[in-house]
Symmetry: C2
Subunit: 762 residues, 2 copies
């Protein structure tokens, strides 16, 4: 087995921080649901844990009180709901409860196998009375059967025979994590669900059906158990939970397995949640577990065949990259009813909300490696377009759509406008991603059926928002990606994405018109030629700030006139500076939370001179705290572009291992999916220097000197390419499909079978 597919931690640490971290790092998910990597047997009382099972897109509303009520300020948000607990399995051997917090842990390891798509927790434990057991617990969130989660609990008595007693819980009495001491998560217990029905079915399944208290949604979960040994069983149906008890004999050195199946169905996808869950459980049990394991491996084989990436010469980095891509696959929604949360399905940070992270950090990976999923992600945006239209009306626009900054169901969940809803660039981001997806895949059908409508509706919003003043088209009172400068005028990034949005809306409109494909769209949104002329004029006259003295693009119209931040004084605390500085103080300084203008330069490298990009990089790098996990990967990519190889590598290295090393100290709340996508981009857009433009695919390959070789696969216009970069050359090999035209170091080539280009320095 290729070492890069196994992420393993050996040895047992009882510290709260380590346990919480591992709950995230070893969570199981398949894009439909996620299960935190909690110990089946639980923890002692008082031990902090985020014990959760979540379904992507399944939410309840919770209150978001405004200290002052104002028109249009949202007063409720959606929260991804911890829906039930089917993880809990407590084993007792000869009257002694298997509990790692007592007795002695002799061996311990946790494994995530990214080829097999399973996690394994294995330990050898000695009870206070000296009984030794080996336990090996394998968990899988099935990619083949999305509602299916399995726990294969194997126990082997090492030095005794006797009786075992397994208590397996199926509980609807769950709540989301809260901590009155931590201001970043909910401070009080909020009840999101009410158990509507619970029963032991004729099939011997436990079934719980719950309803959300405010959002009117329903969820059913069903569990079933298979034992490898004869047993006696009984069950106990409580108000909100069902407990099943299994008694079975243990013989020294003979393993016994209890396999617990969970099937989940929610009312967003299924009409009859209860009936469907039971049906799917029967279907799941109709095949041996090995069948589902095999399906899992087959699915992943296909995934890795497409997404494979390999770095020779840096094993740890190679592993972390695989880890990151695997997490993206685990986290990403598999239908248009959901998307990919900032924390995936691994934790409750950001309450399961979807952000611009999707389009700017994650869609690139999927567009290039797993395009059907990229299409799903963008289709989700189409599915919530009506909500974005409604949002635009609230914000005062008579036409067009404004996407919410953070959401699950399409309604705005941002309670703090300046670094939330004011980030109108989300409209530009979604449009940019739609165009990039189209240029990468050539999927014109998507553009006709969904993309064009997104582009035109978002463009309308920009046109209504902006103002022609002194010959330029200006965008006022918006926030760019940098959340330490809020509600500013003519943010460079925002204006560039808006310009792109307007240009492409017009371009696609004209293309549809020329091809006679406009009728449907005209009927739906009543777009007219005159509006298109407006878009074109606005795009052409869009104000793009430039400072001649510094030869940089100012982040916004007042950034350069702000005070300089005293990094020596201020960096004394830990964590983001916003945790010990009033936000409105930060706004008054030249201090950036994350890449903003530098990100604009990355995605629109032809919009300004190279010298401007270079100077801007230097200027903003000095002023950026990277308090956002979305920052370093972008700086890394631009460092590559600008020939700063050492920096490029350092940024890349940091962001690749961000979760594995818990570098931002908050992975306990969940993985950082955007950063994970960003590390993929670090390879492709960074070291390969890849760019997608209307005129084609561009490469400027280089290789960090720490590496021997880097190899990966991409899909371009439906053809599959394998690209290998060594210290001296870059090889392109066509694996499948028609020949691919591309530019390397600015020269055009066609890859019919293979192409080798020597590396250049710049």
């Amino acid at each position: 087995m290729n070492r890069a597919f196994v992420f393993q931690k050996d040895g047992y640490t009882r510290t709260e921080g380590e346990l919480l971290l591992n709950e995230t790092l070893f969570h199981n998910a398949n894009g439909y649901f996620g299960v935190r990597g909690n110990f089946e047997e639980g923890y002692p009382p008082g031990q902090a844990t985020v014990r959760g099972q979540y379904v992507n897109g399944f939410y309840n509303f919770s209150e978001m009180k405004q200290p002052e009520k104002h028109y249009g300020f949202p007063e409720q948000k959606q929260t991804m709901v911890n829906s039930f607990d089917t993880q809990t399995m407590v084993l007792t051997v000869e009257g002694e409860r298997v509990d790692l917090f007592q007795g002695e842990v002799l061996e311990f390891s946790r494994v995530l196998d990214m080829k097999k798509g399973i996690t394994i927790r294995r330990f050898v434990w000695e009870s206070p009375k000296g009984r030794q057991v080996e336990v090996c617990i394998t968990r899988m969130a099935s990619f083949e059967m999305l509602p299916l989660f399995t726990i294969e609990y194997q126990v082997t008595p090492l030095n005794f025979s006797g009786k075992a007693w397994m208590e397996s819980v199926h509980s609807g009495d769950v709540s989301n994590y809260f901590n009155p001491k931590d201001s970043r998560v909910a401070g009080e217990k909020i009840t999101h669900l009410r158990v509507a029905e619970r029963e032991m079915t004729e099939d011997g399944f436990s079934l719980i059906r719950s309803k959300t208290l405010k959002s009117g949604l329903e969820i059913a979960s069903v569990t079933a158990h298979l034992l490898s040994e004869e047993y006696t069983a009984k069950s106990q149906v409580g108000e909100k939970e069902i407990v099943q008890f299994f008694e079975f004999p243990l013989r020294e050195k003979v393993p016994v397995t209890v396999t617990k199946y969970t099937v989940t169905c929610d009312s967003i996808r299924y009409l009859d949640v209860k009936g469907t869950a039971a049906d799917l459980m029967r279907k799941s049990l109709g095949r041996p577990l090995d069948y589902w394991y095999q399906c899992q491996e087959d699915y992943l084989d296909k995934f890795w065949e497409n997404a494979e990436i390999e770095i020779i010469g840096d094993e740890e980095l190679n592993l972390s990259l695989h880890y990151n891509l695997y997490q993206l696959l685990q986290s990403v929604g598999k239908d248009e009813y959901c998307n990919i949360g900032a924390k995936g399905l691994s934790g409750e940070g950001y309450e399961g909300h979807y952000f611009w992270d999707t389009e700017m950090y994650i869609v690139p990976f999927f567009s290039l490696a797993w395009p059907e999923t990229a299409k799903n992600l963008l289709s989700y945006r189409y599915q919530i377009l009506d909500r974005a239209r409604a949002n635009a009306r609230v914000m005062g626009y008579l036409k067009g759509a404004l996407y919410p900054w953070r959401t699950i169901n399409g309604d705005e969940c941002s309670g703090y406008y300046p670094s939330g809803s004011a980030q109108y660039h989300i409209n530009g981001d979604i449009s940019y991603a739609a165009v990039q997806y189209y240029l990468i895949t050539g999927d014109w059908d998507f553009m006709v059926s969904k993309g064009a409508e997104i582009l035109l509706e978002t463009a309308r919003m920009w046109y209504d928002l902006g103002n022609f003043y002194q010959g330029s088209f200006q965008l006022h009172d918006l926030t760019g990606p940098d959340e330490y400068s809020c509600v500013v005028n003519n943010n460079y990034y925002t204006n560039l994405t808006a310009k792109h949005n307007l240009e492409w809306a017009a371009k696609i409109y004209r293309r549809l018109k020329a091809q006679g494909q406009l009728e449907d769209l005209e009927r739906r949104i009543g777009i007219e030629e005159e509006e298109i002329l407006g878009f074109e004029e606005a795009a052409e006259k869009m104000l793009l700030l430039y400072d001649e003295v510094l030869d940089i693009n100012p982040q916004d119209d007042s950034f350069l006139s702000k005070k300089e931040w005293d990094f020596s004084q201020e960096a004394k605390g830990n964590g983001p500076i916003m945790q010990w500085n009033h936000l409105y103080r930060l706004y008054r300084y030249q201090v950036c939370k994350q890449a903003d203008t530098v990100l604009a330069h990355m995605i629109f490298e032809d919009a300004q001179k190279v010298s401007t990009m270079k100077n801007s990089f230097d200027y903003y790098e000095k002023r950026t705290t990277h308090d956002s996990s979305l920052s370093r990967c972008i700086f890394g990519i631009m460092a590559s572009k600008l020939g700063e190889k050492k920096k490029a590598y350092e940024y890349f290295d940091f962001s690749s291992k961000l979760d594995i090393l818990n570098s931002q100290h908050n992975t306990k709340d969940g993985i950082h999916t955007a950063n994970m996508g960003g590390t993929y981009m670090g390879i492709v857009y960074g070291f390969l220097g890849f760019r997608v433009k209307e005129t084609g695919f561009y490469f400027m390959p280089s290789l960090p000197e720490q590496w021997e070789r880097c190899r990966l696969r991409l899909q371009l216009l439906g053809s599959r390419l394998e690209i290998t970069v060594t210290g001296t050359e870059c090889m392109f090999r066509l694996i499948e499909g028609t020949p691919v035209r591309l530019f390397v170091y600015g020269r055009e080539y066609e890859v019919e079978k293979e192409l080798t280009v020597p590396l250049e320095e710049w």
Copy 2:
């Protein structure tokens, strides 16, 4: 009696709106407490009413949840507490309850007598069974004995004799007004107080002592009754209220009087609230009621002698002016523990908070007419200076003070930063008022003991906040008075007040130093010469925006580049446009809620050319909605200055009658004290063209053609002047004190006894 002192409404209207409005218009207050003008006998169930009794500066904390928690964002606010109910007195005659909502109201009038300082509600009512009674209820909030409130309830049976039964309630079971349907007031009932003690004392007083639930304050109220007729009495002490019953005979056409005394003491001012309240009640009862009535009239005689203002030729306006000044006197705090609320003590709007309204709209009147009170108002700011220092630390300033935008106890209560805490100009406003007070009164002692420290500490904040950039000193990310353009750079008003603040801090420092009076201050705040040099440089280089093309001062650095507001489209709704537009949409337009640059021009008329002020007036007038009650009075004053006599009169007329006519449809929530001060300024700063500068007192008198004559009195440097303007001349008469030097139309005079200057046109 001078008609101008009697505000009267005849006839009875049962509509909810009218009743609520009159509760405000006829409230009784003395600066220490306020009692809404509710009907003693109450209303039918379900009838909206704000039944309240408030003590100035007496508050509880209530929660102000932030939808997203951020460092330094306040999460609790102070709320002026409805403290108890001693208004309730229900009369029953021969078994029929006197209730205006049944039977027939034959006569009805309400009177506010501003010479006597009382309100009278008089009615003749016929019961369903035909019994007629005349009731006359006189209420007084004593200026002489601040804790004392009296209700003299006189009943005369007109066509019968029999028995009467008075039920007099003293309740601690009260709460603040709430209305789930109205987003501008509390949406739910919040319990602020807990009754700690209630008893009938040996003296026959009812006593209730309550504690606030969160702020740790205490309040005691005591009631006592005197009857003009023999009676039998009993009392009933409940958990939270005490009811006293008085039975007495009625003889046809013979009036009987029940006088109810209330004495209130709170723990901010009194150590032993209960003992003190009982003592003061004994003291109150130790004199006949007529004694207190006489004290009230004496107090008001003195007040009117100083504050008198008279307009001959417009009776309604004359009355409304008197009404406004009387309300200011009723509302204004009489000690340094409180100030003057935006709604005075007349209602719960803005929760009893104090704003910049005090300094910019109300201190001018008191400085000129009743200077001891102006000093109290400014002393309150000194008393909360420590809280302002603490606030500055939270906002990131190492030195200096930043006053809260809205407060009772000195802590920030603004939950919405952009149009709240961001209005740093409050520092400049307080400093400006302190300097104006000093220049008007010559009260150097105040400057030495309090004013200088305020000036220096606020100046420190400006210096720390601002940035020297390209040769100018700039102030970023602040909000000026106009709350429809928030968190902008170099707001003209803010920069001018900051400049004045810095200049005067330096000036007073140097004066103190020269006079050897600096030592105390140096010890307290450790100010150094080097800081003063910084203040002077910052003041000198302060960026004051000027647009050459338009010859106006732009409101801020991006105002002119914003979109124009479509007044024709948008003014369709009623009330402030912020009620149907997202605030952040408004920020993107050239639309002003209120006077901003025009206010700057009013208070600093020498900072720019007359043509600039003229052009700016025209420019901003077209773009201002006057959604704030603080706007029109300022436009009126500047209209006078610029010779726009017709406009000046219209603005003045509107703002003078704003509450009496309920022009903003929200007087039910309380009077608009700032606008009331603004109407006074409309006369003095508007028609008289009065300005106070370091170089002296300036007048540019004019008279609206609608008036025959205008007469008023001012105190300047301790001397009292009477000024009379007719259609042709302006007469200055020295009533008391040393001769006064002043400028009229730019020419200098000394008023030794009398001075007459012919009016000029410009």
